[in-house]
């Protein structure tokens, strides 16, 4: 994904040549869960997270930049962690993704309650997202 995600309680198969390979159940729902976990991050999004959200809604950098009213080179710098998005753009990224993905619409109320509490930085920037695909529950480690 470009940022640490741990899938809990999943089965693996052992490939004799290449080692363990994860069996991912309900991949569509998993992608929705990862997206919601990223959108709910209690502090500023990282560049790879912005890139993930953009690809999750199937937009090119140019297309997504148009939604955000920034130049695509500016977006590229953000996605590559050369530039912080800043609080207003961070929130605009989240709201744009919520708007572009109807499946997330049912979570909008919960999401909007979260918005005022998003901090500029996390205590642990590298905290991984832990997801149980069976239940769809996620948490930050």
């Amino acid at each position: 994904m470009g940022f640490p995600v741990e899938l809990q309680r999943i089965q693996v198969i052992e490939c004799p040549k290449c080692g363990p390979e994860a069996i991912i159940p309900h991949m569509d729902e998993l992608m929705n869960t990862v997206a919601m976990a990223v959108l709910s991050r209690p502090c500023m999004l990282t560049g790879p997270m912005v890139r993930f959200l953009r690809k999750y809604v199937n937009k090119s950098a140019r297309e997504f930049a148009e939604f955000l009213h920034v130049d695509h080179t500016h977006l590229s710098k953000i996605e590559n962690d050369h530039l912080d998005p800043g609080a207003p753009l961070d929130k605009l990224v989240r709201l744009t993704v919520m708007g572009l993905q109807p499946k997330l619409a049912e979570d909008i109320k919960e999401f909007m309650e979260l918005m005022p509490n998003i901090k500029d930085s996390c205590l642990d920037e590298e905290a991984e997202i832990q997801i149980d695909p069976a239940t769809g529950i996620y948490q930050y480690a």
Partner: protein, 105 residues
């Protein structure tokens, strides 16, 4: 598993994504990284791509290999080769981009 028709195969693949299982093989993940791509890129092709050609048999494993193709978010035309381990389980074997079919967006 026996070979299935292209139209059925794409439905089965979509079912694997929604209700079944997907196994990204090690070689698939390595090739995805080599192409500078991540799982969401592949996911978009798996969920919206097309299978244009009938399956081919894998001489070593005896499995039938299908190729789903489509555009990744950044405009690259990707081909993902996969097989069905079971009716509800797709195994992703490898991925490559086709530069000639890519689009600039």
């Amino acid at each position: 598993m026996n070979a299935v028709a292209v139209a059925l195969a794409i439905d089965m693949l979509r079912d694997c994504l929604s209700d079944g299982k997907v196994i990204p093989g090690r070689h698939f993940l390595d090739e995805l990284t080599n192409e500078g791509l991540t799982l969401p890129d592949a996911w978009q092709v798996l969920r919206a791509g097309c299978i244009f050609n009938p399956p081919e048999p894998d001489i070593k494993t005896g499995e039938w290999k299908y190729t789903v193709e489509g555009y990744a978010p950044e405009g690259q035309w990707l081909a993902i080769i996969f097989s069905f381990k079971q009716i509800d389980t797709a195994y992703l074997i490898t991925v490559f981009s086709v530069a000639a079919k890519g689009r600039h967006i």
